[in-house]
């Protein structure tokens, strides 16, 4: 069974992602320490809360995350977890991110209701993306966010979603993957995304 660590950086509901990963056959556990990331097959960076506080709480772990990825261990960022993987964010000032992906996190345009809460569609650009295997184009997934990623070169945008602006909802640069939506809250489609990730970890 693959062992997947869910990084606890202080806020929010981590049970649902843990339960989702267990449902699709992984041994998933929550950890807030560097020691907890030893001997794991993959890492999930979940997402609830504000960027600045999250990145501060992650400071001790950023080096370990980098070495795990350098060693080829898959990393999945979810929602704020996606945003933390980028160069920097403009949420509540200017904060440097973990820098796995090049790009800037900016606020959704004010002409739409913020946060973007609810079920929206995936426009799949790269059906070959590991996470999107057997996910039909136009599938609904669940979003809760106010910021999105403006991607620069070197990052694959595998799916996009439109809400006031066209933004990346699945990005990747193997072995790092990220979704702006919450797969653990997206019903059967979301569970399939998690299963695809677990299968990739197991490969």
């Amino acid at each position: 069974m693959v062992r997947i660590a869910i990084v606890d950086y202080g806020v929010g509901n981590l049970k649902s992602i843990r339960n989702g990963l267990r449902k699709v056959g992984a041994e998933a556990f929550v950890t807030g320490s560097v020691e907890g990331l030893k001997d794991v097959d993959a890492v999930v960076l979940p997402g609830v809360g504000a960027f600045g506080e999250a990145i501060r709480n992650l400071a001790d772990m950023s080096g370990v995350l980098r070495s795990l990825v350098d060693a080829g261990r898959p990393l999945l960022g979810i929602c704020l977890g996606l945003q933390l993987l980028f160069t920097a964010s403009t949420e509540g000032g200017f904060h440097r991110g973990l820098g796995f992906f090049r790009g800037l996190i900016v606020k959704l345009p004010s002409r739409v209701k913020i946060p973007h809460i609810g079920w929206n569609t995936l426009e799949i650009l790269n059906p070959g993306c590991v996470l999107l295997e057997d996910i039909p184009d136009g599938s609904y997934v669940y979003f809760v966010h106010s910021y999105y990623a403006k991607v620069e070169e070197g990052v694959n945008v595998d799916a996009e979603t439109v809400y006031g602006v066209r933004f990346p909802s699945v990005v990747s640069k193997e072995p790092v993957f990220a979704t702006q939506f919450h797969p653990e809250r997206s019903g059967k489609v979301g569970l399939r995304v998690l299963e695809n990730f677990v299968n990739y970890v197991r490969r």
Binding site: G12, N13, V48, K113, I117, W119, N120, H145, G187, G190
Partner: protein, 270 residues
């Protein structure tokens, strides 16, 4: 395109669903977990659990319920009823709920909205507002109240707390705006005039609210058929429609309602 949401609401007392249930094939129709799964299978977009237990044992049974639901349900769910403190909110969220709805506590201490949304993010703080119309004479405009012309006459909307038992004498439209300023991520709006009537939601209230606030509005109270939900989501401008009895008694499935909405051009997740 962002879909409009259909949200069944389950009233729970001492860990059991209390309203009558028309589902067939459930082993235990009073088990919230089994009912939640049935709604999930029907295509519910979210669920709301409203805890109406009025006793000291409430907290433990509620946390137990949230944990059990979270293990099997992979759509978002909100928990409300009797949530008083930031610590209550924390325990419900860490047990696996996605959002909490607060009503009486928010009216009595609006700072809880600010503190909770700062700590946990406004996306998980739903402010629930129970309202009732107060009709006024043609030449009367009470101070501090937003009076509107409606089909049934001139009125303003008073806020009620303690499960609709106590009027506050506070304008609901202004309270809604304040709650959003303080950090409410969504508003769940229930009308005591329309609740249980099956004659439709308070569309005039919803329309006015969605004109005024920038966060999603969940319409509640009064749904008797899919057309009422269509009205709330189109004319009323609501982002989600919540209903209890039309689903619990098996009159309509969630899927039937969503198919009806789709036929009328409303984007829904099917």
């Amino acid at each position: 395109m962002l879909a409009k949401r259909i949200i069944p609401c389950l009233d729970v007392k001492k860990g059991r669903v209390v309203k009558g249930v028309g589902f067939k094939g459930l082993r235990d129709a009073g088990d919230p977990v089994e009912l939640a799964l049935a709604y999930y299978e029907q295509g519910a977009d979210e669920l709301v659990f409203l805890d109406i237990t009025a006793s000291y044992e409430r907290r433990r049974t509620l946390i137990d319920l949230v944990e059990r639901v979270s293990e099997v349900l992979f759509i978002p769910f909100t928990v409300g009823g009797g949530i008083r403190t930031v610590s209550d909110i924390r325990s419900v969220l860490s047990a696996g709920a996605d959002k909490v709805s607060i009503n009486t506590a928010a009216v009595k201490n609006p700072a809880i909205i600010e503190e909770a949304s700062r700590r946990f993010g406004s996306q998980c703080i739903v402010v629930s507002i129970d309202v009732k119309r107060v009709y006024v004479a043609e030449d009367e405009t009470p101070a501090g109240k937003e009076v509107l012309e409606t089909r049934r006459g001139r009125c303003w909307w008073d806020v009620y707390i303690y499960g609709g038992r106590q009027p506050v004498g506070m304008d609901a439209l202004r309270w809604a705006e304040r709650a959003v300023e303080l950090g409410a991520g969504e508003l769940l709006v229930s009308s005591l005039d329309f609740d249980g009537t099956k004659q439709g939601y308070d569309i005039e209230l919803l329309r006015e609210l969605s004109r005024r606030v920038s966060v999603p509005i969940i319409a509640s109270s009064g749904a008797g058929n899919p057309r009422h939900m269509l009205e709330a989501l189109t004319v009323g401008g609501a982002d989600a429609a919540l209903a209890a009895s039309i689903f619990h008694y098996g009159q309509y499935t969630v899927e039937e309602v969503k198919r009806y909405l789709a036929e009328h051009g409303v984007p829904v997740r099917l």
